[in-house]
Symmetry: C2
Subunit: 464 residues, 2 copies
């Protein structure tokens, strides 16, 4: 349904500009530099050339119907030329603000463009949107300052967001860890295309292993539940529903015009339709990575492997505590497995769970311990800390853990603590699609979300 | 009391080695490269030279009494030479494991070295410790792999830890953000010097603005409470008490031999003596930075400034929610202040709290909005998001916010979201001693801890 939006054969940039600070220039530049392989039609009454592309004086001069038109003009002008654009486009992204979010006049503009779009069977993303960013096809309509911001690479996460800024900030921050996205779509004022259609679409999109959403209000809550219930059987959905408090709801209404309902109601609804809830930008992507790369955890018993005893103790607290923790269980390792671990590690290591291999741990010790834990029927999942600061550990540890993540039977989550080197190793884990987290709490919360996913799937199987 | 440990005029390295992988080499190298300015006496029966230092065949040959002796020899040998070392040293750090943590024989070794130390009035840090790291004096007895780990610079945080590894990992990770420490001391088996004496000492140390501790068990809980109650009137104490669950306590007993009491009891005791609790390595340093650089917050009313609406909404939820949040209040800005803000920002910005200046925000807008909020009697503290991804923001924003942090009346916490550039700006904030956090939740939790500090001070004033 949205194939030609995600992967358009041709794009018109209506309002193309030769000013490097203008969005009408940036979009062209993005298309040129990010490897977009389709046909590009800049439109500007002045004609001429921009960035080596021939400029068409009007959309009417463009020699074909285009899959996507990006309108980079102010709201008033956007409305004026909208019919010409709609005639020639499957999808239209009007970037400008100055629509419904500004009051009555803006609302009227929205009504007009929607009416025109319907007449010509064109679909609108936005208006008042940063648009879309599709790493694999090089389509990018977003404006950021490149020296101060990064776009992430291709990956498994589809991101639907009502707030463009929060979406771009989140992608920028996780790009530092090489996290990739299949698609990013900013709904903006959501005059036409909404989250439910996109959810449905990404539910069937093979590239997207998980769908994440930032939402301040649902376009149609009942429809969302229906679609989400179907999609979440196939792949996980993580939603950051902002405006969950009364005051937050008020802030949301000023931001996107959202009218929030009760948060308790939302909470119950999410559970019923298999949606996983995130409470902030960190959880949103942390959970997405666990769910995209990891396996659901079928029981509560976690084995922890560490080379730093204190990290094992704090982790144990977080795993077992109901108050500040996830209320799961530390696995009771079987005697045979403990004997096997004993053979792998240095004499003063602890073979109880958490397995503390001490600062004398080597890459091979990790391999042996993971092999043993993989065979223990008392273990449902493994949290392994990859701490690279001690002498006998090397970069090879990434490959060893990746091997067990891919070939082993147990779901694995990786934790790490450190600075530049640890960051580099996190990128390697990420490239290998191993869920890795830079803190104890975030690692443990990844376990919880994988356990919750298993429970949701079980629940969804039981309902029609 | 510990002045000559922190800033020794002379150090003997007993067990100095010419092998670069040995701790007896690394300690010398650290002293040489980190600018330690005192006299250094390597001791090794082979004599000769190491790293340009003259090596003494025995501690008896060292031409003066030294302030600190670091023993880098195995446990058995450590015991054998201990009397000679104790005769000539104020402080002794026996690095080796193989003491009390290994059983009866090790316990006997501990008894012996303690007896000898007492006889000669020497004090022991450890054994089984990574020792100490004092950035300002260049004293560093810790072994890490330099290519894969960093030591932090000088700063305001005194760090007392029972676990050496957790301490080093934590310092490594926050060194990426330029966080500095006044002192780092690993208690190890804590046969002599314990956390209570150090707490007392750092309570009076002007360089240390805050004291953080990682503790699995208290050497003397009653004494800790007495000392903490006094010290926390002067400066904040943040404690990560690990082993707070039954299973975590068991893991702790295997790690450091800790015998944990009930966590509820610990919780109550912490409150009574003004101690702030952290639950993991991130909170420990996050809270320390808020408390070291920030002012206590005297009321519940927070103003939030952002250029990304969604960030404002999620922040509002976290501030107001009692369930997933800190249960504080969004300030109701006074009408006059709202008028002043309206004059500063672009027309479509929101002057309600959260103040959303939109992606059109400039450095000057921030300055004007912070000036206005600084004058609002309805505001107890300000959370300002420094988001560097939009065109009209520059590095100057760091200076503007720093100015209001230093000269303004209201406590300020800074949040940011981003990758490399944001990280670079966070370092600038850190260098300016402005509390800055790389996520919404962590920013909001910093507000809570500053509010809690004000409440603790009020409570402590009321008790004898």
């Amino acid at each position: 349904m949205f194939d030609k939006l995600i992967s358009p054969d041709s794009i018109a940039v209506v309002g193309a500009s030769s000013h490097p600070n203008k969005i009408g220039y940036v979009v062209l530049e993005n298309l040129k530099n990010n490897g977009y392989g389709g046909r590009i039609y800049p439109v500007n009454p002045k004609g001429g050339q921009i960035l080596g592309f021939k400029v068409y004086p009007s959309i009417n001069d463009v020699p074909e119907e285009v899959d996507l038109s990006v309108i980079t003009l102010p709201a008033e002008v956007t409305v004026k030329i909208f019919e010409d654009v709609a005639k020639k486009s499957k999808f239209i992204i009007p970037i400008a603000g100055g629509f419904g979010e500004t009051g009555k006049e803006g609302k009227e503009r929205e009504r007009k463009i929607l009416e025109i779009a319907k007449k010509y069977n064109a679909r609108i993303i936005g208006p008042n949107t940063v648009g879309i960013y599709i790493p694999s096809t090089g389509v990018n309509t977003a404006l950021v300052v490149p020296e101060r911001s990064r776009f992430p690479g291709d990956g498994d996460i589809a991101f639907i967001t009502q707030s463009g800024a929060l979406g771009l900030l989140t992608m920028d921050s996780v790009s530092m860890y090489d996290v990739g996205f299949s698609s990013f779509i900013n709904l903006g004022n959501r005059v036409d295309v909404n989250e439910n259609e996109l959810l449905q679409y990404f539910g069937e999109d093979e590239k997207s292993k998980v769908i994440i959403m930032y939402i301040e209000s649902f376009a149609n809550g009942r429809e969302f539940m229906r679609v989400a219930k179907n999609v979440s059987r196939k792949k996980p959905i993580v939603v950051l529903k902002a405006g969950r408090t009364k005051r937050g709801g008020k802030a949301a209404s000023l931001h996107t015009g959202a009218l929030g309902g009760s948060d308790a109601v939302a909470d119950g609804a999410f559970k019923q339709c298999g949606v996983i809830r995130a409470y902030d930008e960190i959880e949103l992507v942390d959970y997405a990575r666990a769910l995209a790369y990891g396996k659901p955890i079928e029981g509560d018993r976690i084995a922890v492997v560490t080379s730093a005893g204190g990290v094992g103790v704090v982790t144990t607290d977080y795993i077992e505590s109901e108050v500040r923790g996830i209320g799961m269980k530390m696995a009771e390792l079987s005697d045979e497995i403990k004997r096997r671990i004993r053979d792998e590690v240095v004499p003063f290591a602890s073979v109880e769970n958490p397995v503390d291999m001490t600062a004398q741990a080597s890459d091979d010790d990790y391999d042996g311990v993971l092999a043993a834990l993989n065979d223990d029927p008392n273990v449902d999942a493994i949290l392994v800390y990859a701490l690279f600061q001690t002498p006998l550990i090397s970069e090879k540890l990434v490959n060893i853990i990746t091997k067990w993540h891919r070939e082993g039977d147990k779901p694995i989550v990786v934790g790490t603590i450190g600075s530049e080197f640890a960051l580099r190793m996190m990128r390697k884990f990420e490239d290998n699609k191993v869920p890795v987290y830079p803190s104890i709490e975030r690692s443990v919360k990844a376990l919880r979300v994988l356990r919750y996913r298993a429970k949701l799937l079980e629940y969804l199987e039981g309902v029609e």
